[in-house]
Symmetry: D2
Subunit: 397 residues, 4 copies
Amino acid sequence: MAPGKKGILERLNAGEVVIGDGGFVFALEKRGYVKAGPWTPEATVTHPEAVRQLHREFLRAGANVMQTFTFYASDDKLENRGNKLSFTGAQINEAACNLAQEVASEGDALVAGGVCQTPSYLSCKSETEVKAIFKKQLDVFIKKNVDFLIAEYFEHVEEAVWAVEVLKETGKPVAACMCIGPEGDMHGVSPGDVAVRLVKAGAQIIGVNCHFDPMTCVKAVKMMKEGVEKAGLKAHYMVQPLAYHTPDCSCQGFIDLPEFPFGLEPRILSRWDMHQYAREAYNCGIHYIGGCCGFEPYHIRAVAEELAPERGYLPAASEKHGNWGAGLEMHTKPWVRARARRDYWENLKPASGRPLCPSMSSPDGWGVTKGHSELMQQKEATSQDQLKQLFDRSKSH
Amino acid sequence: MAPGKKGILERLNAGEVVIGDGGFVFALEKRGYVKAGPWTPEATVTHPEAVRQLHREFLRAGANVMQTFTFYASDDKLENRGNKLSFTGAQINEAACNLAQEVASEGDALVAGGVCQTPSYLSCKSETEVKAIFKKQLDVFIKKNVDFLIAEYFEHVEEAVWAVEVLKETGKPVAACMCIGPEGDMHGVSPGDVAVRLVKAGAQIIGVNCHFDPMTCVKAVKMMKEGVEKAGLKAHYMVQPLAYHTPDCSCQGFIDLPEFPFGLEPRILSRWDMHQYAREAYNCGIHYIGGCCGFEPYHIRAVAEELAPERGYLPAASEKHGNWGAGLEMHTKPWVRARARRDYWENLKPASGRPLCPSMSSPDGWGVTKGHSELMQQKEATSQDQLKQLFDRSKSH
Amino acid sequence: MAPGKKGILERLNAGEVVIGDGGFVFALEKRGYVKAGPWTPEATVTHPEAVRQLHREFLRAGANVMQTFTFYASDDKLENRGNKLSFTGAQINEAACNLAQEVASEGDALVAGGVCQTPSYLSCKSETEVKAIFKKQLDVFIKKNVDFLIAEYFEHVEEAVWAVEVLKETGKPVAACMCIGPEGDMHGVSPGDVAVRLVKAGAQIIGVNCHFDPMTCVKAVKMMKEGVEKAGLKAHYMVQPLAYHTPDCSCQGFIDLPEFPFGLEPRILSRWDMHQYAREAYNCGIHYIGGCCGFEPYHIRAVAEELAPERGYLPAASEKHGNWGAGLEMHTKPWVRARARRDYWENLKPASGRPLCPSMSSPDGWGVTKGHSELMQQKEATSQDQLKQLFDRSKSH
Amino acid sequence: MAPGKKGILERLNAGEVVIGDGGFVFALEKRGYVKAGPWTPEATVTHPEAVRQLHREFLRAGANVMQTFTFYASDDKLENRGNKLSFTGAQINEAACNLAQEVASEGDALVAGGVCQTPSYLSCKSETEVKAIFKKQLDVFIKKNVDFLIAEYFEHVEEAVWAVEVLKETGKPVAACMCIGPEGDMHGVSPGDVAVRLVKAGAQIIGVNCHFDPMTCVKAVKMMKEGVEKAGLKAHYMVQPLAYHTPDCSCQGFIDLPEFPFGLEPRILSRWDMHQYAREAYNCGIHYIGGCCGFEPYHIRAVAEELAPERGYLPAASEKHGNWGAGLEMHTKPWVRARARRDYWENLKPASGRPLCPSMSSPDGWGVTKGHSELMQQKEATSQDQLKQLFDRSKSH
């Protein structure tokens, strides 16, 4: 951490709002640097300029945290997902740290090293084996001396606790996020109980990320907070939701939606949705507020603009954005200038332009979770035979 | 043009598919570098790394043309829209040429210098005055020796013809795009008649860009082609539409939609919509196929993937994209792996996740166009009094 | 016609508004007396009380015309559609006349005898054969001395002209309605040309019924009127549309919609839609305004209420309906009382409560019409083999 | 009860399915005989033929119960709602009994005398006063010797219990229905607790009617059943829901929807929705299955057709309805004949034809209930001043 910068816990303890960044895998998939399916971050080595630019845009949008782009960068995942280039996990993780630190140093941002759920856990490997996976990524974060650590995107609290236990040994502040909604984890553990277990394992900041839309995630974190308080414990809270509307999701979130991952466009939140989200999260006592898949820099900027009164300043990127659409005062057409006002955008119910499409979907949800043979991970791409079986099965759902 | 590169007319004459890039103003607005309302491109000077990165992403996605980011970079527009930094139009245009040329040299792309409609025309300035505006931008393009010229985003054919006449004097190939749909220009001139006038003025490539969704734009270009052929003339055709569904637009296109410009998210096309578009455009005899507002690099990649059989190769960014979702064969969940097939994505009717929103909107459309006092442009931001009048008027619509 | 009642032409010549009734087949299908598929009117004989009651409700709602319930009551249709009870066409037609005349005598209504398109025409029978079919129904209407005649629900102008020629011989006023939209008849004859042929054949009142929603039907009749006026001819105009929204229909109308006939509920027009329709029709110079499939008595009442200023009185059923929802002033809940006003209902955009459903459908449309072997009619119900072929074919569409 | 007919409890005790009729107020409002707002049943006296015909249609559709059309026919309601004709409540109730008994005698149906919630209760009258209201209606039912009694459409369990206590004194079987959903009554009493109180008060059949769509009502009755079983009690269960989709309703049901009562058309259930409902209700152990507002005879027929295997016969009206659309085998067009099959209709997602409308609404819900001054009932129609206040208040919601 650069001298003079306050640490994550100092900030939260002081009651400051901390704004997170947005998700890298979806944003870089759209830009051409991440492959949907494997979702692995080799781009930190192969296309550092693209990763660096995205960091910069989030920083400019108001983010106080640069998360290392190390999602699914564990060796077991990289192997499982066809990382055919001869990069080691260590190389990818190290490059990610360099990029995050370079950009963080350009502004008031901290660097968080991140780990997430592993195929080893889904494949029923032992606690020792799974913890060793986390340890390998952690070694890089320690070597690069990141500011704090995030264990995120866990569907099972058991694995999240293992991750927290490993991260905890470093002495750095530890945040832990589940990718669950109000229904709880994949084994049915409620948000309140999940939260208690994470705090007891040593996480100082807890919350949820990914899988659900902002309002659903805030609701889940609220339930976590109630659980923690009821247990007489204390924690800070964070939330990093999707930028997709998901009112129709069941317990596994947007993965189950038929639109995942290549037809989610009509669900993308507007900047005005983000204002609502930021306010609601803040009002619930969540002070670390960021984003995950689907977030573009302008979404983070909207969070920062909504919370500008609390933070005391606008983000740099607001030089290119009028308050509540005020930039439209400069528009050529008078009827567009008439939209330069808050109540216009707050009340707009945007149309999809898709009259043949519904507004909600029936999620897939095969009801399988860790322990089920269909979730055992394999290194090989799905074979044609396996695909045929999957197609047939999906038809019967 | 780099030695060895074929020019734009050589390519089109040889029957090659030329893929354009996507629009910069909307993409960079989301990234935090362009202000909605003024929509001017000062970022070429202030944040060259952001502009360069977007060029690179479109190149990687398969674009054969790097358009200089000079939209609304005429001096009269820059003044009118509050360009308070002390950059001249010439500086902005020159920086734009440098960035486009730098990236074009990294691959098989040409550089096109672009001009577009002016506030001077809307404010009823004379032909001489309007042509002088175009001439100033053109001086930079000639000095920087761009490969060809595009006059685009014209609502009135009269102004477009003036632009073509100016560009034509340089001896460089000239393309001309109107931002009109099948209903024709703002003065009611039909696409067929518009086309004939552009060709007679000297444009070798004609078409439409912006304002309407891909299928609507293709339809309009088809009408232009029919007009040109009926008149016994010849031309090449291009199309650079929105990446937003606009079935509900009337003659002025998406400007009139209540969602413009800050609530368009639910209308964003998916990559699969782009496959359909690319095929339809190609089948209509349009060989220069690109995008405008709303296009992200993955949209251009989808165009390039659809036309890979015709072009003979996939774009670089396809290393991060399986054919028709094939990358999902590597997904963790079996029911997502079952989506790794063409018919799944072709038949998907994606939900909006917005059950309180309609699928179509009633466009605003005050029915005013060039010559109407409400369209006289002013340098000052709309005053509070003017805004109030606009609000009241918009309520009565 | 009862002494003292003005005839249909007297009324229209005097500039009076004539309100038609609604369609009987759909209304009685919902009540359990008509079978969807055959759509034949045996109920006039088997359940006269049900037919009589529906007549009464339309009369009470403001209708000035009681159409005999003789739709598809030609002998060739009755045979083709499995009329297994031993009723002759003559019996059914006669019973229909009795019921219509009984109720008409209870108020200010005329009785119209109706004929419609025949399976014989679709099966390519000769003009002589088809005309003989009409003649048989007509014999009953003459015997019962109905007030005027309507030839309605014709998809092909050729058959409609034949019908008019037959009806014309009686000396009674003749109205003729096609079931077409703005695209014209099944052989591509435009509404304007269709209209001219009907007027030349002797029809004094022309228009369209069924197949499309009110606004679309009004548009088609407007085109007919323009055709007639351009030809220097004269006629009265009528319209009897569906009570279903059909913005997504192609030339054959709602028959092609996937929802036809058992899933049309979400498309049913509200009474407020009917106000708009009645006003628009009247403004277009259409003075005989009624309804067809989907109309319930309250829909006709809404037409009568909208045109009460022109007619000078409210219908009897308005004793049970406050003006623009004024009855809600008596509602128990205050927030429902707040809805007792015109602008509330005029501006309401009613939700479907069906978030998994789209707002528009892709019509079926196999593109076959009279002369195509698939349209040759048969007396037998479709066999299992034929059904299987149809299913397979529909899948490939 | 006619000799030879089994009573309601005999039937339910024997495990028979009992099919109820549909709601009369909405059906007769559409036919022109009931006024929305007051919703009172003077038509039993003024237009007996219309009421009789509707009874007949439900009987023919399969109903085993003819409910007397005595909704809101208590003297306090009739006075409050502007019953200006000089009919006493006794006259209206007696006429209703005559009509129900006349039609019941034409088939295998019982007659149920019905009472419902009173304005006196909402206006905080005493238990004695409210019970006296019920007693007055009951006197007619006893005089006419109806087969059993139903206390239905209660928002507050307290008032429902009072009604049951009064009805119970007659010795006739007593059914009791609340108009609540899974959230419970207006004072927050859960469905389980409500149920226990009703059973303890003496109701032998309990359930819910009106206010919510079929699936929501079934869910609420299921919760009632669980409550009763948990308390070690026993009861029979009934359900008579709306024929409108109401996924967006909060605790007071469809009254709060902006579409109530004049814009509900897009929400009307199809017959296929009714099949699902009937099966689900039956599977939950609910054996008295009928309908309320929005039900037309064909909806009840669909319930009877779904449960034909259990009942052993089809209703009379099925002579006019092929199994799962089989009547379409006789349709003129081959592509409509291709729809003559179950899976077509089961999987259809019907479009609304309303692209400018959303699929869900935000309910009004002012959050007031019995005891709140705004719910004190008055005899006078709302004054203009009161209306203005209501409009202003509704705008601020």
